[in-house]
């Protein structure tokens, strides 16, 4: 008879005691969602892989400082990912590279699976999303990719459920303005 799968909090408790296999299990459970989040924030697979690896290395080194406040472990990982992506964007702008919005969406670093599935309209929408402020991008990714509720998004972003709802509404309003603008949405 197979062993029953351990719950996240049980694995987390073992990982907090320094059990590396337990941390490995947490990694396996969360790597895809963190990778997806970073991929949409950076727009290419190589940076997504590099930053995803760094998120888990940082998490492993700082897990001794982790305190369980009833928030899912993934929320802590998302916060680390958000900070690393913010640093990545800052370094990139310092180096004055081509902004993401001007970079071709189907590039060498684009995720082949995602690129093949997208239509021109979706490419244009993705371009607009990548021009949004970081918090709005984060909100859309958590809502549409991770299917998190406003309350869960609030836990990740450190905001109240009402604040998330309001931000979401404002984001949709500004997105719709841009989508309806033929000059932008092409």
């Amino acid at each position: 008879m197979p062993e029953p799968e351990l719950q996240d909090d049980e694995i987390l408790a073992q990982a907090l005691q320094g059990d590396k296999d337990a941390f490995g299990a947490l990694y396996e459970r969360n790597v895809a969602r963190i990778y997806t989040y970073i991929y949409y924030r950076t727009g290419n697979t190589s940076d997504a892989e590099d930053l995803t690896a760094r998120v888990f290395q940082r998490a492993m080194h700082h897990i001794v400082n982790y305190t369980d406040r009833g928030v899912p472990f993934s929320a802590w990982l998302y916060r680390i990912a958000h900070n690393l992506v913010a640093n990545w964007h800052r370094d990139r702008s310092r180096r004055q590279e081509i902004p993401l919005s001007d970079a071709p969406l189907v590039s060498k670093g684009d995720h082949p699976e995602a690129a093949l599935m997208r239509t021109q309209e979706q490419d244009a929408l993705l371009r607009i999303i990548r021009d949004l402020p970081a918090d709005r991008q984060q909100l859309l990714i958590l809502k549409f990719v991770e299917h998190l509720s406003n309350a869960e998004i609030g836990e990740v972003m450190g905001r109240s459920e009402g604040a998330v709802k309001s931000l979401y509404h404002r984001t949709l309003l500004s997105l719709r303005d841009e989508v309806e603008d033929p000059a932008m949405f092409s």
Binding site: A32, Y35, T36, M60, L125
Partner: protein
């Protein structure tokens, strides 16, 4: 009774459908996932290093500086004493 449609300014159904169709989960390469897992599991043991408090650090530095000054003064005095004695 049919539900009253929301005013245009509030109706985001179409946009939300577009967002849902655009933002899809992507999966990392299996080799990448394995490589990072190996790096994590094989990596050096986790050691919690708590940063020293500022006051403690300052005391250590001050003690070092004062010890160096005292040593230099004693050394200079010994050299001075030996020179004057030789004359």
């Amino acid at each position: 009774m049919p539900r009253k449609p929301l005013p245009d300014s509030q109706n985001f159904d179409e946009l939300e459908d577009q967002l849902a169709a655009t933002l899809k989960p992507v999966r990392p390469e299996r080799t990448f996932v394995q490589n990072v897992r190996e790096r994590i599991v094989v990596a050096a043991p986790v050691i919690a290093i708590r940063p020293a408090r500022d006051v403690q650090s300052l005391l250590v530095v001050l003690t070092g500086v004062i010890s160096a000054i005292v040593l230099a003064a004693v050394g200079a005095r010994v050299i001075f004493f030996l020179r004057t004695r030789a004359r």
